[in-house]
């Protein structure tokens, strides 16, 4: 299963119709898919925190939002996740390219690679790490959880995922 296609199908199955993004090389194909998807409004953000704010506004206006980003940007959005989404009870599907783990070639990715799961757990934001074959259903389930719990949910997609493993 093509990993970018699997994520795209998961977003569609979840009914996601609004996305903000800050790019990662692993998100390249997925971002192109979103740009050509007429059912999804896709907005490139300048910073991940801005994306959290944009997605919160889209939710208020009746859309189902996803934020696509690299895990290096998770630290940039902690305050907005905590004092906007978690404070008010605003759902968000976070599709996160999880760099800095096994197979990482760039040493600068390693610190946030290690901190990603502890930060999400400190925020009490649920996280899953599906394989491509199960990504469509698990992304759908993650959104359903976000919507019913009125809080963000994270999907972590590591280097193995993007290799199709």
């Amino acid at each position: 299963m093509n990993p970018s296609l699997a994520v795209h199908l998961g977003l569609k199955r979840a009914g996601i119709n609004f996305a903000a993004s800050v790019p990662c090389v692993n998100l390249q194909e997925l971002l192109e898919r979103l740009d050509s998807d007429r059912d999804i409004i896709h907005l490139p953000a300048t910073r991940e925190e801005e994306g959290v704010g944009i997605c919160a506004g889209a939710w208020m206006g009746g859309h189902r939002p996803a934020l696509l980003m690299q895990n290096s940007g998770l630290g940039n959005c902690i305050n907005a996740l905590a004092s906007l989404d978690l404070l008010y009870g605003i759902p968000l599907l976070m599709i996160i390219s999880h760099r800095g783990g096994r197979g990482e070639s760039i040493i600068g990715q390693v610190p946030m690679g290690r901190l990603t799961v502890p930060l999400l757990e400190a925020l009490e934001i649920s996280h899953i790490s599906p394989c491509p074959a199960k990504a469509e259903y698990e992304i759908f389930s993650a959104w359903k959880r976000a919507e019913s719990d009125c809080r963000p949910a994270a999907v972590l997609l590591d280097i193995d995922f993007w290799r199709g493993e």
């Binding site: 609004f18 409004i41 490139p44 959290v52 208020m60 206006g61 305050n79």
Partner: protein
Amino acid sequence: MKRIEAIILAGQSAAEQNALLICNIGYPSRELFSVSDRPENFYMLGSMGMASSIGLGLALARPERRVLVLDGDGSVLMNLGSLASIAHHGPENYLLVILDNCCYGSTGSQPTCTRLGTDLAAVARAAGVRRVRRAESREELTEALLGQGVVVAGVAAGNADVPIISLSPQEILGRFMRCARPAGRS
């Protein structure tokens, strides 16, 4: 112009335009709540810097609704990238009003860089926003509130003596979303 005078004008204009109004954290939200509370107002209680971004997402989600944002100089300086996003992706139903009092008014009036000469209208123009206006008087602000793009309104430093907002975050969001969502959607 006192800031609360600008907020009174913005609240009146939002009501007349049947607009959704996103209001910045701190005293601006408290002042708006005390002078012009409507369920169509979203009061920020946290996430400093996010007002313009929340409004942008909302305006894109509801292109047929008028969306106003009341922001401050300190908060815009914290999220300057938002001006570039507004320039290139902001829809026609969106207006960002920056109430520039040259200080962090809710934390003891420490000066921001606009006190030292940073010109947020020029920054917005340089970011690519086509419609940028300055408003120094009540008359200029009243007219500018009907426009689109970005308005930088000069206001005096100082907060009005107003209480804290007596609504929970869930109450603020719940009543706002009943106004902001398309009819028939819960």
